[in-house]
C-alpha cells in the first residue's frame, strides 16, 4: 500500500532531532508539524518572518497580522521572534535552519529539483522555493513517486524548469524513502506492502538497492 499524505508526513517527522530549526513548505510538508515525536522540541521557521510558529488559531482568534508563508492564519509559541524577510532568508542562506521539507514535481538522480513552473501553464512564481533549495543545508522532499499518468517523477534528469541544482538530500515518497547520493537514488525503506520491484519499476533515475530493504512501520 502506498503511503497516505499523512504517513509521508509521519515518516518525515522521524527525521527530526531535538533542537532542530525546521522550515516546512506548503502541502504535505505542513502536515509534518502534526507528527513531531514526543520528547523532541523543534522550532518552526516561516520564511515570511517568524521563528516559533504555532498551530492554527481557534476560531475567532485569527489575527490578520499573523500569517505563515502560505498566507494562512497561525499562532506563535512562547519564545517566538518576528523579523523581516531579508533576515529570514539570511538565516536560511547562512545554514542556520537545520531542515527544510518541501514538495517537488520532479527530482533528478543528482538531486536537482523542479517544483515551480510547468511550461504552457500560468506561471505563478517561485516564491521562496529557489532560495530554500539553494541555501538549506538539509532538504527532504515530500512527493508522490509517479504522476497521474504513472510516469516516474524520480528521473535521470529533470524535464521541467529547475528550481535548484544538486540540493535534495532525501526523498520520502508514497512508495519509499531514498537518499540522493553521488551514485543516484539509494533505496532505504519501502512502504508497507510495496515491493522493491515496484519501486524499481517506478523509479526512472538510477536506483541503488543494496541488501535487505526494510519496510516502514507505522
Amino acid at each position: 500500500m502506498a503511503l497516505t499524505k499523512e504517513q509521508i508526513a509521519q515518516r518525515i517527522a522521524r527525521e527530526l532531532r531535538d533542537g532542530y530549526y525546521v522550515n516546512l513548505g506548503i502541502g504535505i510538508p505542513t502536515l509534518v508539524a502534526n507528527y513531531i515525536p514526543k520528547g523532541i522540541n523543534v522550532v518552526l521557521q516561516s520564511e515570511n518572518g517568524l521563528l516559533g510558529m504555532g498551530p492554527f488559531p481557534f476560531e475567532g482568534n485569527e489575527d490578520p497580522d499573523l500569517i505563515n508563508a502560505g498566507k494562512q492564519t497561525i499562532t506563535t509559541v512562547p519564545g517566538s521572534a518576528f523579523f523581516d524577510s531579508a533576515l529570514s532568508f539570511g538565516m536560511i542562506r547562512a545554514g542556520k535552519v537545520d531542515l527544510t521539507v518541501l514538495g517537488a514535481m520532479e527530482v533528478s538522480e543528482e538531486g536537482d529539483i523542479a517544483n515551480w513552473k510547468i511550461p504552457g501553464k500560468m506561471v505563478k512564481g517561485m516564491g521562496g522555493a529557489m532560495d530554500l533549495v539553494a541555501s538549506a543545508r538539509n532538504i527532504i522532499v515530500a512527493m508522490v513517486h509517479s504522476n497521474p499518468k504513472g510516469e516516474s517523477k524520480l528521473l535521470p534528469k529533470c524535464t521541467l524548469p529547475l528550481t535548484g541544482l544538486r540540493c535534495v538530500k532525501k526523498i520520502v515518497s508514497d512508495l519509499a524513502v531514498l537518499d540522493v547520493t553521488d551514485q543516484g537514488f539509494r533505496l532505504l525503506e519501502r512502504a508497507p506492502g510495496v515491493s522493491v520491484d515496484e519501486i524499481r519499476q517506478k523509479t526512472a533515475g538510477k536506483l541503488i538497492i543494496e541488501g535487505e530493504i526494510p519496510e516502514m512501520v507505522f
Binding site: 515570511n48 481557534f58 498566507k71 492564519t73 524577510s85 532568508f89 542562506r93 512564481g125 521562496g128 529547475l162
Partner: protein, 231 residues
C-alpha cells in the same frame, strides 16, 4: 522639517506616470492600503511595481491592476489574481519573477548602499540567465543588483513624527527593507505618535529612511487564507 502629511493623497502627490514603486507587504498582510487607494484615485499609470505579491482581484495591488495602472510587476509570487493572469497573457502587463529571498536582499542592498549582493538562489535555473555567476569556497552564487526605486510605500503599525517605524508580527515582512530602499519613502501607520513615545530600542525602521508619514484610516486587513482549529 516636517515629515508628517495629513493623508495618503498628499503623501503620494508627486508620484508620476512611469514611476518605479516598491510596495510593502506579504500577500495581503502589512500592505499600504491607504496609499494603494490613493494611487487608484490619482489614476497614475505605467507604473513599475516591486512587491512580493500582486494582491488579489479586488484588494491590494489588484485594485491598481483593475485600473490598468501597472506596466510591469516585479514579484516572487503572483498566483492569486485572475485579472493579473488575463493582462499577462494579453501582453498588457509585463512580469519579472524573482526569488523571494533575492527580492528581500536586493532591497536590503539598496538600504545599506551595497551595489550588489551574492546569493545561491537561482543558480543553474532560468533565473541565472544573463547574470554573473561566481564561485566562493566551492559554491556558486549569482550576483544580484540592488534595487533602484523612485518610491517605497510601506505600512507600519506605529510611527512617530520623526519617521521612526514599528511593525507588528508578520506584517513586518518586506516593509522595513523597502522603507530603506526607496529614494523617497512614504510610510502609513495605524497609529502616529509624537517623537519620544516609541522606545528607541524597539524601532524597526529609523526615521532617517522615512520622508513622509501619515496616520492611515479604515484598515480592512483582509485575511487571505482563514485557517482555524477546532476548540
Amino acid at each position: 522639517m516636517n515629515k508628517v502629511v495629513s493623508h495618503a493623497a498628499e503623501a503620494i502627490h508627486d508620484i508620476r506616470d512611469g514611476a518605479t514603486i516598491m510596495l510593502g507587504g506579504f500577500g495581503l498582510c502589512g500592505i499600504p492600503e491607504n496609499c494603494i487607494t490613493a494611487l487608484v484615485s490619482k489614476g497614475v499609470k505605467n507604473l513599475t511595481c516591486i512587491s512580493n505579491n500582486a494582491g488579489v482581484d479586488d484588494f491590494g495591488i489588484g485594485l491598481m491592476l483593475q485600473q490598468k495602472q501597472v506596466r510591469k510587476m516585479i514579484s516572487s509570487y503572483v498566483g492569486e489574481n485572475a485579472e493579473f493572469e488575463r493582462q499577462l497573457l494579453s501582453g498588457e502587463l509585463e512580469v519579472e519573477l524573482i526569488p523571494q529571498g533575492t527580492l528581500a536582499t536586493r532591497c536590503l542592498a539598496a538600504g545599506y548602499g551595497m551595489p550588489a549582493v551574492f546569493t545561491p538562489a537561482g543558480v543553474g535555473t532560468e533565473v541565472a540567465i544573463g547574470k554573473e555567476t561566481r564561485n566562493f569556497n566551492g559554491k556558486d552564487y549569482l550576483m544580484e543588483m540592488a534595487f533602484d526605486a523612485d518610491y517605497a510605500i510601506v505600512k507600519a503599525w506605529k510611527g512617530d513624527t520623526e519617521g521612526n517605524l514599528v511593525y507588528r508580527e508578520t506584517a513586518r515582512n518586506f516593509n522595513p527593507l523597502m522603507a530603506m530602499a526607496g529614494k523617497i519613502t512614504i510610510a502609513e501607520v495605524e497609529e502616529l505618535v509624537p517623537a519620544g513615545e516609541l522606545d528607541p530600542d524597539h524601532i524597526h525602521t529609523p526615521g532617517i529612511y522615512v520622508h513622509r508619514i501619515f496616520q492611515g484610516k479604515d484598515y480592512e486587513k483582509r485575511i487571505e487564507q482563514r485557517t482555524v482549529r477546532k476548540a
